[in-house]
């Protein structure tokens, strides 16, 4: 780890200001950034902790029924506090990493990092969530721009994420055996105006919507509806843990299972 300065502002404005510093980086729960720094792969000049901003923590229900999660809310809090309002989201949060990760890692940190194998991007995209920042609101469909790439501008802070609550939803994660990130994960959510299917872990382009399955499931929300569909291995990740063809297979298998589990 290289030397760096550390600040922990208590307001969003204070954090935004601190992030204007050259080579400053925002620190959520540090579950990716701190290991990267220890490996000397990241070298921020200033680490701006978002952990001291009270208004960025916690789970609440908006007037329109959406579940609103503060950007600095740890996964374990989401797992506990969203369990009644959005069980599929709470279950996803409760399945991230291990207890240490879930008690430190935050939803804002995960979405800002946009690891192609992370779980939260699937929930956000699959729910059509709104990513609220200190400067604007971004629809999930406009937010994810590829592996580790998002619509966030430098210094922009995710303050809240708003999830419309579906009629039924489920997340199926197939574990990469070593890291236990998603080798592939599929989030299926059924809304009054249609079904959304978001896939993480599989594509070289990061999280994506499987539109053929969405159309089929919007017409018939049953596992059989996707039986006849095929997923192309084109553009899928190939590595030690699975070929593109294997991941393409998992997309379909997990979608069926998510639909079955969502009921």
């Amino acid at each position: 780890m290289y030397a760096f300065d550390f600040v922990k502002p208590s307001s969003i404005d204070g954090a935004a200001e601190a992030l204007q510093e050259e080579e400053a980086m925002a620190l959520g729960g540090g579950q990716t950034l701190i290991p990267s720094m220890k490996q000397r792969l990241a070298a921020p000049s200033v680490l701006v902790s978002l952990g001291g901003i009270a208004e960025m923590r916690g789970v609440c229900i908006a007037d329109d029924g959406a579940v609103c999660i503060g950007g600095a809310t740890p996964h374990a809090v989401v797992a506990a506090e969203a369990a009644a309002s959005y069980p599929a989201l709470a279950a996803l949060a409760g399945g991230i990493g291990d207890p240490a990760v879930r008690n430190r890692g935050t939803i804002g940190g995960s979405l800002a990092n946009n690891d192609p194998s992370a779980c939260y991007p699937a929930a956000a995209l699959g729910s059509g969530a709104t990513i609220v920042t200190n400067t604007r609101k971004i629809a999930a469909d406009d937010y994810f721009e590829g592996m580790f790439t998002t619509a966030l501008e430098p210094g922009e802070i995710i303050t809240e994420v708003r999830f419309p609550v579906p009629q039924a939803a489920n997340y199926q994660k197939f574990l990469q055996p070593a890291s236990r990130f998603a080798l592939t994960g599929v989030f299926v959510a059924k809304y009054a105006d249609g079904v959304r299917v978001a896939v993480t872990g599989a594509s070289e382009g990061g999280v994506f919507r499987w539109s053929e399955a969405e159309a089929a499931l919007s017409a018939d929300f049953s596992p059989a509806a996707v039986e006849g569909l095929t997923v192309s291995p084109e553009g899928m990740i190939g590595d030690l843990h699975g070929t593109p063809a294997y991941r393409a297979n998992l997309v379909k298998v997990l979608t069926k299972r998510a639909v079955a589990a969502a009921g």
Binding site: M1, Q39, A178, L240, H241, N249
Partner: protein, 789 residues
């Protein structure tokens, strides 16, 4: 009624009190006054010519004391290899120089290029980044068969990448070929025994220290065998006489073989401590461990089994490519040869066996012994090919094995691969296994799995291993450059307490408990009257350390021998005190008595007399009560058993779940059943890890793809089932005093074939009959791909 103390009791591990409460004293817990910190600059490419290493800027960095490169070590030796294999043509293996820091060429990612010593570790790390390397990349040699065929050389000066081409038993080759020519059935299997990273919980650490006033060197290190390190490093690398060198291996957090070997960092910090007149400490990071700790396994094998029409084994023929990595690690050449070829008979009567092994240099981390070392590789190929033969011939895999077992009345049994099994009962362990694994109930469980859309399979296999390494005269003939005896001193104190100083070394096995149980039992005193000391060359007799499941069989035997010397002397003292004939003295429950009388004297009084010899036969007997013994075994020991694994395969994802695992082992006599079961559990977890999860992977450029826990999958608690283990089938070893065989490696040796056999069985029962083998690790992706065909 189980015993509550002594031999046979499940005494609680006394060392666990400190291990579990954070009070263990590991090498990294030690910090010496004026200590400096070493960091190694390591190769980022697998193969390159070094034009220049410019350390000018690095040496000027804050806190830097000195930067060492290969030139600084020009006056000392390279790292020695402890075993010389002779090839099938009678020639010695090729043995390249193994420098402490890379000389002229980089040969693997992770090789140490320079050592930076600074006031702090962070300063040393900063300085390492300031070293300027001028290198010319060379094509990397990664694939073994390509390496053996020639082309780019890992070591230009030895002229070949083939370390040796070994044939065993070479004189049998023609007869084996003939047996294959006339066999009714031949089963052939090509397989890979996957390369593993050892991953002990504690990474390696070394602290060099030098006392200018006495010219004494001390190395504190994470070693399984401190005396061996003292001998190798002192005599062969740094030229320090053994009386001027002390090696201390305090609490060590696991080794699995990887801490047997003498590593460059140990010599480098010892050397630097004298140069700088300061203690120098190096602590491996986990990332460094992946690219510097000797890896294990990495064999590519073709095995053929010849059978007659009734399924009797006629002959076995194998060809194996064994990866040595870039240099010969300490015992690397012995692993694919004498620890592998001699086990190819397994539990069976196969009259003719020929094993060919081609050891190959590649641009990868050196490969050496890892839990089981050679024996897992032998067991895996043999038990897989037997299963395949049974399926091809339509025979029951259990019956095919039973038919070929060495029978209980055939011991001692001379195998065609040199070793003589002293004792065993393979039918008994198989019977026990079928019972504890509830094989009779399998079909009902399979039907239940099928209803849930899962394919259930049952895999069984046997194993045998050669432990208690080893008769020195025999291994000397086979190329070992060391003896393999063990030693112990039993020191009785004046008030009766005992300190045993053993040459064995505990790095988790529980010596402090089990060795004390044996002594307490022999004398009839409480276990807490016995203390076990190990791990420091300054206060233990020359010992060869712990590996190869040898501690109790060899080290325990040395201790029993020393204790018997003590008891014999104590009897003389007791005879004097009781005014009786020594021949009439009996020791029982901590007291000496005169046979047939009620006269007795307790253990403590005899010990006191030995050290306060007022009433003592001084003209016939020296005062004191302390004896040392060395024990050199007359044969290996042969633990054996039968294992069963039940799996469920998800045909849609290829995921394998282990539902049940049963192990029936014959370890001979057992000193502490709880510790034995723990050893089996650990071994099974590692074997299951090899079968399903673990695998070191390099790309074609020699870059490690599995260099962290993000990509190298270690088994976790939820990857393994609750085991059913049994060691009640006991045929005691016939040639050591405790009748023990060793249990440390059995689980890792016996379990991989059971897992793979079970997966193949599941697929066949599920109608997926085109799959005859899948290479380990059986990841979901590999199993799914195999199912797709």
């Amino acid at each position: 009624m189980p015993k509550d103390h002594g031999i046979g009791a499940s005494s609680k591990r006394r060392e666990d009190v400190r291990f579990l409460s954070g009070r263990g004293r590991y090498t990294d817990d030690m910090n010496l006054a004026r200590q400096a910190y070493a960091v190694f600059l390591r190769a980022q490419v697998a193969h390159a010519k070094i034009n220049k290493i410019d350390t000018t800027d690095a040496a000027a960095m804050p806190g830097v004391i000195r930067v060492f490169t290969a030139q600084d070590f020009s006056g000392v030796g390279g790292l020695p290899c402890g075993w010389q294999v002779t090839d099938r043509h009678g020639n010695a293996m090729l043995e390249p120089k193994h420098p402490i820091l890379a000389e002229g060429k980089i040969r693997y990612v992770g090789e140490a290029l320079a050592m930076i010593v600074a006031e702090t570790e962070a300063q040393a790390r900063d300085a390492a980044e300031a070293i300027v390397m001028d290198v010319e990349d060379l094509p990397a040699v990664v694939d073994m068969k390509a390496a053996a065929a020639g082309g780019t050389l890992v070591h230009d000066d030895i002229g070949s990448n083939l370390c040796y081409d070994w044939g065993f038993v070479e004189d049998n080759k023609a007869a084996v070929d003939e047996a294959f020519a006339r066999a009714d059935h031949v089963t052939t299997l090509e397989l890979v025994n996957n390369r593993l990273a050892p991953n002990p919980m504690e990474p390696r650490v070394a602290i060099g220290d030098y006392d200018f006033s006495t010219d004494q060197h001390t190395l504190y290190t994470t070693s399984q065998n401190p005396h061996v390190i003292r001998l190798l490093m002192g005599a062969f690398v740094l030229g320090i006489p053994e009386h001027k060198l002390r090696v201390v291996a305090p609490d060590v957090g696991g080794g699995f073989g990887s801490k047997i070997f003498h590593y460059a960092e140990e010599a480098a910090v010892t050397f630097a401590a004298k140069e700088l007149r300061r203690p120098v400490k190096w602590t491996s990071t986990r990332s460094e461990a992946f690219i510097t700790d000797a890896h294990g396994r990495d064999h590519v094998t073709k095995i053929e089994l010849a059978l007659d029409k009734d399924g009797h084994f006629q002959a076995i023929r194998t060809e194996t490519f064994a990866n040595m990595g870039a240099y010969l690690s300490t015992f690397a050449p012995s692993v694919p040869t004498w620890l592998h070829g001699t086990l190819m008979a397994g539990n069976y009567k196969t009259p003719l066996i020929y094993v060919n092994v081609k050891a190959v240099f590649t641009n990868t981390v050196p490969v050496d012994a890892y839990r089981g070392a050679g024996r897992p590789e032998a067991t895996f190929q043999l038990e897989r090919v037997i299963d395949k033969a049974a399926r091809e011939m339509g025979m029951d895999p259990v019956e095919l094995r039973r038919k070929n077992f060495v029978q209980p009345d055939e011991f001692p049994y001379q195998t065609p691969v040199a070793v003589v099994y002293d004792t065993g009962n393979y039918q008994a362990t198989m019977d026990k296994l079928l019972d504890i694994a509830d094989v009779a109930g399998f079909e009902a469980r399979r039907a239940e799995s099928a209803e849930a859309g899962k394919l259930r399979g049952l895999g069984l296999n046997c194993y045998i291993e050669a432990c208690g390494i080893a008769p020195s005269n025999l291994v000397g003939q086979l190329g070992a450059r060391a003896g393999l005896y063990e030693s112990a001193t039993v020191r009785v104190n004046a008030t009766g307490g005992i300190v045993v100083m053993t040459g064995s070394h505990s790095h988790g096995q529980g010596h402090e408990t089990t060795f004390a149980q044996v002594i307490a039992d022999m004398i009839g005193i409480a276990e807490n009257q016995v203390e076990i000391v190990h791990g420091d060359t300054a206060n233990t007799p020359m010992g060869m350390g712990t590996y190869g499941s040898r501690s109790l069989a060899v080290g325990g035997s040395a201790m029993v021998r020393a204790a018997n010397k003590v008891i014999n002397k104590a009897k003389k003292i007791a005879a004097h005190l009781l005014e009786a004939s020594e021949a009439d003295i009996e020791l029982k429950d901590g007291a000496f008595s005169v046979a047939g009388t009620d006269k007795s004297v307790d253990w403590g009084s005899v010990c006191l007399a030995a050290y306060v010899p007022h009433n003592y036969p001084l003209e016939d007997l020296e005062p004191g009560l302390e004896e040392t013994a060395f024990y050199d075994p007359s044969n290996f020991t042969y633990p054996a058993g039968a294992y069963a694994c039940e799996v469920e395969v998800d045909p849609e994802t290829g995921k394998v779940t282990i539902c049940a695992f049963a192990a029936a082992d014959d370890f001979g006599n057992v000193v502490n059943p709880m510790i034995v079961e723990g050893q089996v559990h650990g071994g099974l977890a590692q074997g299951i890890g090899q079968a399903l999860l673990e695998g070191v992977s390099y790309d074609e450029n020699g870059q490690l793809l599995s260099g962290s826990y993000m990509d190298y999958a270690m088994p976790r608690a939820d990857d393994v089932p609750s085991y059913v283990v049994d060691h009640s089938c006991q045929t005691p070893c016939t040639h050591n005093p405790l009748g023990v065989k060793g249990c440390g490696e059995a689980g890792a040796i016996g379990s991989p074939p059971a897992v793979v056999n079970a997966v193949i069985d599941a697929l066949h029962r599920g109608g997926i009959t085109h799959v005859t083998h899948i290479d380990m690790p059986l990841t979901p992706g590999r199993v799914w791909s195999a199912i797709q065909g």
